[in-house]
């Protein structure tokens, strides 16, 4: 008995020691700041004077500000644009390549390249692709006799431009995850279905889609969180314009906090963003019980 408890103590000691750097980091750089955000929401603070408790004033200000609704609306537009398009394209690509294909590793390397270089530098290249008058895309469209839209100066097209760029960037990553998911579906399911005389479509809808659903679920949840945090694409490509049509919640937080030094109000928006992400993820988990199948 005593030997066992001594052993336990030793295990506990090493366990806590080994996780201590990450635990300290978690407390000081995640949990403490989150708690402080909840406090800041109820204060007025401009950085120079001491924070002042103002109750729910910040909420009143934010919920009456037009920019908040622009940012909220646009963020949802981007979610509705980017998530389905990227999911479908990467799934189709994965389905096409889930077999022996010559040079597949070269294709994979090419598809994933945009994700690796997802930096300001490549947004700059896209800025030129879409630029008015001298833009690359419209020049190419001109060659084949199409007059391209004003990508970055018309609200509708500016949003499309950001959807195109984000899809271009994320597709390769989600493609690789889908492909790994497809490889995880046991062959015998298909063999059994073939014996039953199932055709290609039946196999896809009755085997592939249901058995791939955990992967699809993972992809949708991760992508949603990513799109809710959209920032540098709009910041560099359109600056949030024209007329706030590509202005996102994170840009709004950035402006409130670091342009106008309205820290309390910025905290409100950041917590609202957090709440939306949590809520959407929670709803997805609830819905997932209806459509996600886990193989035992």
């Amino acid at each position: 008995m005593q030997g066992a408890s001594k052993l336990n103590k030793r295990e506990n000691f090493w366990g806590y020691l080994f996780i201590s750097p990450q635990i300290i980091g978690l407390l000081s750089f995640v949990l403490f700041p989150v708690a402080m955000s909840f406090y800041l929401m109820f204060t007025e603070w401009d950085f120079t004077n001491a924070p002042k408790w103002t109750g729910t004033d910040n909420f009143n200000v934010i919920f009456h500000e037009e920019n908040f609704y622009y940012a909220l609306r646009n963020t949802f537009y981007f979610v509705l644009g980017i998530v389905p398009v990227t999911t479908v394209i990467s799934l189709v690509m994965a389905l096409l390549t889930n077999r022996a294909i010559k040079g597949l590793s070269i294709y994979k390397a090419a598809f994933f390249l945009p994700m690796v270089t997802s930096s300001v530098a490549i947004v700059l290249v896209w800025y030129w692709v879409f630029a008015p008058d001298i833009g690359l895309l419209n020049n190419f469209l001109d060659v084949i006799g199409i007059t391209g839209p004003n990508w970055l100066t018309e609200a509708f097209w500016a949003r499309i431009a950001i959807v195109i760029m984000s899809t271009w960037q994320g597709m390769g990553y989600y493609y690789l995850i889908f492909l790994a998911g497809l490889k995880g579906i046991p062959e015998d399911y298909y063999e059994a279905a073939e014996i039953d005389g199932a055709g290609k479509l039946r196999k896809f809808f009755n085997i592939t889609l249901p058995l791939l659903s955990p992967t699809t679920f993972f992809i949708i949840v991760t992508m949603l969180i990513g799109v809710f945090n959209l920032f540098q694409e709009s910041f560099i490509l359109t600056g949030g314009g024209p007329a706030f049509s590509t202005y996102t919640l994170v840009m709004y937080i950035y402006d409130l906090a670091f342009r106008y030094f309205r820290m309390g109000e910025a905290a409100v928006v950041s917590v609202v963003l957090f709440a939306i992400v949590l809520l959407v993820t929670f709803i997805q988990f609830r819905l997932s019980k209806r459509w996600v199948n886990y193989i035992e």
Binding site: L26, Y107, G181, F217
Partner: protein
């Protein structure tokens, strides 16, 4: 030609089109950086440069402190990568292989923090760092990134979990302590996961824009993405220059990626598996 061959050909055509789409912007960036300016604005666009110029590249380094930004980015990315690999692998080892009290509960807390968007912690962190005079230093970009990496802990823990306990049991019988088992047995076995996480971390930090944008003010502290962003502000339509600057920022990452890309594919398959 039979139908399956025709199907294969069609797939290759589709794959080539998609691959051209993903690679083309990089091709265009690099070729524009070496085209003389009259060729850049040519309509229809010149697909293959006819004349080459190397004038833009020295300008990138003359007009902005790009060399310094390179050093800054390199320093931050290397230190964060080494640091986060150490702290997250040792925590992952504890969660995977040591039976200590509350381990599964604490691991759950780690996983839960993956849901918290960085923006929620941003404002308090900014306040914290300004109180301790860290604004306009590289510390806010390094210390939190080294000290907390829930994704890293999760990924390496999953990998360690798949290594049989037999290795550890026999080492324990030989009298090895946890630090020795971690360093001499587990770390070599986890090499693929370590390399993958290392690459992700390095590239993520190299590309980081939001953090430097907020925490850095003086140009001599700037990282590469910040310099690129200020290039855009100053030389709005000087495309040759802008594309040369982008090339300088991206090409090292492309080379690193091409050298190590098989680890990516593995690593992503690992991270997606949790489903």
């Amino acid at each position: 030609m039979n139908s399956s061959k025709r199907g294969n050909l069609l797939i290759h055509v589709i794959l080539i089109i998609v691959a051209l789409t993903t690679v083309f912007p990089f091709y265009w960036m690099i070729t524009t950086a070496v085209k003389p300016s009259d060729a850049i604005f040519q309509v229809p666009p010149q697909m293959f440069p006819k004349h080459f110029t190397w004038d833009y590249f020295p300008k990138v380094f003359e007009l902005m402190p790009m060399a310094l930004a390179y050093l800054n980015s390199m320093k931050i990315a290397v230190l964060v990568t080494v640091g986060t690999l150490l702290t997250s692998s040792i925590a992952a080892y504890a969660f995977a292989k040591i039976q200590f009290k509350g381990s599964s509960m604490l691991f759950g807390v780690f996983l839960a923090t993956l849901m918290i968007p960085g923006q929620v912690t941003l404002i308090p962190l900014y306040i914290l760092f300004s109180k301790i005079d860290w604004i306009d230093t590289h510390l806010p970009l390094m210390v939190p990134a080294i000290m907390i990496n829930a994704y890293g802990v999760f990924m390496i823990k999953q990998f360690m979990g798949s290594i049989p306990n037999g290795y550890i049991e026999s080492a324990k019988i030989d009298g090895a302590s946890h630090p020795r088992i971690y360093w001499q047995i587990m770390m070599p076995l986890c090499k693929p996961a370590i390399i993958t996480l290392g690459l992700f971390t390095f590239i993520g930090n190299w590309n980081n824009f939001f953090g430097p944008l907020i925490f850095l003010n003086s140009e001599k502290k700037f990282t590469v993405p910040l310099i690129i962003s200020s290039f855009k502000g100053v030389y709005t339509v000087d495309w040759g220059l802008l594309m040369a600057a982008s090339t300088v920022a991206i090409v090292p990452i492309i080379i690193l990626y091409l050298l190590t890309q098989k680890y990516y594919v593995q690593g992503i398959a690992m991270s997606g598996m949790k489903g």
